[in-house]
Symmetry: C2
Subunit: 81 residues, 2 copies
Amino acid sequence: MARVIVDVMLKPEILDPQGQAIARALPRLGFDGVGAVRQGKRFELELEGPADEAALAEVRKMAETLLANTVIEDYTVRVAE
Amino acid sequence: MARVIVDVMLKPEILDPQGQAIARALPRLGFDGVGAVRQGKRFELELEGPADEAALAEVRKMAETLLANTVIEDYTVRVAE
């Protein structure tokens, strides 16, 4: 059994109002030194088999179809250590 | 300038209906071989200075205060490669 991580983030050119709200809230809460924040999603998938190349290709298809909106989001797929 | 990643996931004992909905949708969409899915949040913070131990301690405080609800969520802080 393997665990695969899919990270989904807004594309750099897409405005991220959630991240901006966090970045603006930080100084008010006494935190300085953070220039920008982007918020995204993280999925942990427990595979029933090994995380071989075929399984990772399937996960990439899931990310395209279900987990990410590829018009505005980028995704990365990696095997969890 | 350094980039720090904060991953926030529901604690293992907390039910994750979003993840369950995804896990149930996958076979309907023709994807087999995934046993369980958990969904969480991923934050990318651009630090104005270096990601030294002091800066990472600050980021951990931000995660406790603002990014995670530590009653139901765990977080990890790491420097992006």
